[in-house]
Symmetry: C2
Amino acid sequence: MDKIVSLCRRRGFVFPSSEIYGGLGSTYDYGHYGVLMKNHIRSAWLREMVQERDDIVAIDSAIILNPAVWEASGHVAGFSDPLIDCRTCKLRFRADRLEDAHCGKKPSKRPGETSECDLTEPRQFNLMFQTQVGAMEDASSSAYLRPETAQGIFINFKNVLQLARRKPPFGIAQVGKSFRNEITPGNFLFRVREFEQMEMEYFVPPDEAEKWYRYWVEKRYAWYTNLGVRESMLRIREHDENERSHYSSGTSDIEYQYPIGWQELEGIANRGDFDLTQHTKASGTKLEFVGQEGERYTPYVIEPAVSIERIFVAMLCDAYDEEVVGERERTVLHLHPQVAPVKAAVLPLVPRDEGMSTRARTLFEELRRRHTVEHDDSGQIGRRYRRQDEIGTPWAFTIDDRTLEDETVTVRDRDSLSQERLPISGVAAWLDDALQREWRSPKK
Amino acid sequence: MDKIVSLCRRRGFVFPSSEIYGGLGSTYDYGHYGVLMKNHIRSAWLREMVQERDDIVAIDSAIILNPAVWEASGHVAGFSDPLIDCRTCKLRFRADRLEDAHCGKKPSKRPGETSECDLTEPRQFNLMFQTQVGAMEDASSSAYLRPETAQGIFINFKNVLQLARRKPPFGIAQVGKSFRNEITPGNFLFRVREFEQMEMEYFVPPDEAEKWYRYWVEKRYAWYTNLGVRESMLRIREHDENERSHYSSGTSDIEYQYPIGWQELEGIANRGDFDLTQHTKASGTKLEFVGQEGERYTPYVIEPAVSIERIFVAMLCDAYDEEVVGERERTVLHLHPQVAPVKAAVLPLVPRDEGMSTRARTLFEELRRRHTVEHDDSGQIGRRYRRQDEIGTPWAFTIDDRTLEDETVTVRDRDSLSQERLPISGVAAWLDDALQREWRSPKK
């Protein structure tokens, strides 16, 4: 993980946030390549989950909702972690993760074991960030930053049912920031206090819930392998009954083998009719489906939920490699072309040569109308290739002496390092095609 | 404005948020078409400001930054509105907007004038939302939701300078949510408490600041007219000295003539070296440019800043029309194809005809791999056209009897209502081209 963090810092994918002010624990800012890569991940998700489907629509609900939403959903009462204080060092820990805690004086041990730590009994700490809305500072103005996007979907169920003329099975998808006041954030982007969720709630007739649950577990797994994540690094782990939320009748995690071990990448849950029933009770608005033949039921919900941050880290880990090429070492990101921040680089071999420089510039202008591409004319060509390898650019188009003779360019492949020649006039179409091709990681 | 709000509600662009719980004053959720349109606006901005430029990179900073950032920027001390209480009705108003206020008992008047209202002296109310980060509830854990994205850019100035190998003039762009605890939100999406900003900070040598300020005012104005906003509805208004922030040596608003009057759509400010100087003082990190020949200066900053919400409303207002077509009325959104939520509809004239239905489905599948398109086979063809007109879909492809004979389809133009025939095999390429063409509003 250290190597990933260091590459992210060095090449401007991700910085510790507020660095000039000493940072703010486990908060990060994304640099240029990080923004581009996140945008590509988000687009790939929206294309698969909304654009290419008949049965799913998008919404974008507010971050600060009416607080009654979080009462009904159970978050006010139950969205908490057990918190323990150390009276010796004055630090706080998650009671269920004491083995990972680092006490100021001594590594903490479990209560009861011999230790210099003097630990309190655990108490519940709510993970929702609270704030005040409006100019009145009283209880009635308290509100929360949403800890998940899902509830913003449930409360709009009826709007979508009516206005988008839908009937189950159908889904509502949302991408947006969520906030959790984690007691022990950490492991780079893996557990952060603000993160970007991509959730889809799929509403189905109750007797089809099990079928759709299985469908979405498979479908979401295939999304990762189609985006080049190696199957050897992925597994599906079904929660046993004790581990599941009380309302869930089935939950599976798609796990990735991060450097810190197998961890949840995405969760798929069969939430039953819990959410719609809770909001029906609390709001007095019936959230149910009434068919044209008078059939009437509260749909069950299947939810695939993931954060862009966990995909971002999994894809970087999966792509990172250090290779010896001839006599030189290179650091390379074998990213799927769809998520690579930059799709191609245009490189004039001898930048001061006017013929090469003009052609490179013209090609660059043509390509960047359609894709994120870079033009680089500084330094030795080998160094320029390595700069692109390090940020995972799949192809480089080099304009050289031969270009001036026959109007062809070299295309260099990041993974195979093969070079072939193309007519300069065909590069744009070639790149469009190449971005549609299947891709597999060359890593073992 | 009422007609726009009603269309937005009816066709699922925008709903009042948390509606089943009685809403939450001036907060809105976006439905499917609203999300699509916002996404297109964001993409158009990013394409113009980042993708097609050599000199601007993107970042994405955290919403909750180290609070020292807001001390240094002046927001903790000065980002406030004057607040006045009415002792009679117990409501609160903005002292500088009393004429717009609606008191519970009686329309308020200015203090001093005869009125039943009993108004307090104005006091300053800070507009930043406050929250607590971490498990300690003391002053040290107080933090703010960012009221603007700009400061997240300034504190990353040095990172970008070093890692992206930049020298002035260069810019850093950011898109993301900002939060302001407005005392009097309102006018639909025009003044809301959470909104999505698109800001770009352009760092220049001090002696070039005036030139670049003029450049960005023009450039941003042209962005709107290129996206089809009518020039008659736009104007540039330069702030006079009293109106400007103390650190600004020039500010211009691009105003749009909203139904509520001429109002700021986008602001372009010459912020001088105020921000970088403040953060240099407060953090001890020198935020300056040092050239290879040893030249050294604190760049000036030109800032074009806008929110997606104001563009969204301006474009809807500019596009909305009620027309009489033949003997029927239609409601139509004359949106620029680049921002229209749906780019094209595919309509089988007789859905139960298998030949038409199969061809429509095949064409639809082909088109939606590249664009947001809809397939609609329910109801009379006239009604289907009007549904698409109402959401601003520029083109409809109709599969009819003739398609079965000669494999051509009708393309209907939303604005001119002209119909022409195309070979079905050429539709995808035709649509790609059409989306690149210049477009002008047919409205007077």
